[in-house]
Symmetry: C2
Subunit: 304 residues, 2 copies
């Protein structure tokens, strides 16, 4: 099953030429989950061939402009392009009000159902649970209410040991029950334990998205052992005071978080406009957590 994330924007609030504010498109089994939607996201989608028709879920972490100002334009374009199927939108309560007022004064009635679900920044909640994935909010610690999101693959059924099943002549109609963990009893009453006929499926992969937040251990437990951790790294650690003051994280701290939470790999982003190039941020993070990458726009990262 495809499980990968494409970076559409990775800058923080102040604009900088050649970097766009935050947005990511997560591809799970060919369905797209859009995470944050800074200004210009729809232009970035055109640029990187991300089809909005494949998006059925949008997640907005918080109401700072660099994380949501592209949303109303994207919704309008979906409408103008004839979208009819429902779209689920997850975000802070007041996001709905902001959208509604803009639709009202442009006299736009969306031609598709927009199903808004308010997130709660006080406690982690499962907000999506479908055949492919479970999505849970991650309450973060920012200047205003803010949630990250964790996307966990559904645990797959057990895998059949085909040769064993053929050797024992087990009829095909038993296979589904075996995948679900049942034992097999043959015609002559011999019981074969499930674990001799099947093996466990792969450990479900997980992607955690943590932006924006100050370093705060409150969410570490929730993001432990993820396959890929995206963490904001707005500043270099020589600006730790500024990071604290603005409730952001440094590249060094992001790496420490990856280490402490036992992430497999780390992706850093939400770079301050003061950094024209990003090598120093990468080097700083890699000094603590070598398997770090930069969230460069247009790059796709497999979550595996």
């Amino acid at each position: 099953m495809k499980f990968e994330v494409t970076i559409l924007g990775s800058s923080s609030a102040t604009p900088i030429f050649n970097r766009n504010p935050t947005s990511q498109a997560l591809n799970v089994n060919e369905r797209l989950y859009l995470i944050d939607c800074g200004e210009g996201t729809q232009q970035q989608m055109l640029r990187f061939d991300i089809k909005s028709s494949r998006i059925d879920h949008i997640f907005i972490s918080h109401l700072h402009g660099d994380h949501y100002l592209g949303l109303i334009g994207l919704l309008s374009s979906m409408h103008l392009n004839g979208r009819k199927k429902a779209l689920q939108l997850f975000g802070p309560t007041h996001l709905k009000e902001i959208i509604d007022i803009q639709l009202k004064y442009s006299e736009t009635t969306l031609q598709f159902p927009l199903e808004f679900v308010a997130t709660n920044a006080q406690k982690a909640e499962v907000i999506v649970n479908n055949n492919d994935i479970i999505v849970e909010t991650i309450p973060l610690d920012h200047r205003i209410e803010c949630c990250g999101f964790i996307f966990r693959e559904k645990k797959r059924l057990r895998k059949l040991i085909k040769e064993k099943l053929e050797e024992l002549n087990i009829p095909v109609e038993y296979y589904t029950a075996l995948k679900r963990g049942s034992d097999y009893t043959s015609a002559n009453g011999v019981v074969y334990k499930n674990e001799t006929l099947t093996v466990d499926s792969n450990v479900p992969k997980a992607y955690a998205y943590c932006s924006d937040t100050i370093y705060n251990e409150q969410y570490f437990n929730q993001i432990s052992n993820v396959t890929l951790l995206y963490h904001e790294a707005t500043f270099l650690n020589d600006m730790l005071d500024r990071a604290k003051e603005t409730h952001h994280t440094t590249a060094l701290q992001a790496a420490q978080i990856a280490l402490k939470t036992n992430a497999k790999r780390l992706l850093i982003g939400h770079f301050s406009a003061r950094y024209k190039t990003l090598n120093e941020l990468l080097d700083e993070a890699r000094s603590v957590f070598p398997l770090t990458e930069l969230a460069i726009e247009g790059k796709t990262f497999n979550i595996e």
Copy 2:
């Protein structure tokens, strides 16, 4: 005096790769007047080196997203970049409400005075009158309330005929009065009429911005004889029915308007995303009004 307009965006609502929604920066004597502010305008400003610190006036024609969704991001960035001086914002009444709600929920208090002036789409009004320029609204005919804007240079003082003044030994302290139109009486009582000592200054130049509107003669009188007319030309004329239905203009109509109102030159923009290239729109307009140009992003047009 510098009087020129730089195109920052020229697409209509549906996004298209490589064209941004509507915005223009008008440079009048090195002060910038921003006209409309579609999503991504601040990125375009970075791209074309348009400094937001030089903008003291922003004009929003109407509340369709492709004309204003970049505004809140731009205001936030001005704030983050430490702007202190006042900014005048002109637009439909409800624009203020849309800005306020977004500032409120991002817990942002702008560190500069934002002076909002509501435009009235029912009647033309002078909304700016300073040393350089007079700006007047142009009530247009669109699906929702919409105003264009006309920017007229202030009439300059008369120009002195230097050789004549020196020949007559007219003292320098009389020059200002002469520029203002006074006659000159010499020490021995001879009266020299002003028109023998000065010449009229150039005819004040004017730039009219007309977007979005259906073809409607109601505003033709107001825009007559402008130096440069920007007019929306969303469609080719083979889509006249669609233009009427959506309250837009075709390239042919824009050219007819330039002809009827005796514009010196015509600039067309607000192109539908269906036109990947723009030559046909240009050819259609030029068939009626040869001095037509396309509002190509990054291009600057002298108003002269």
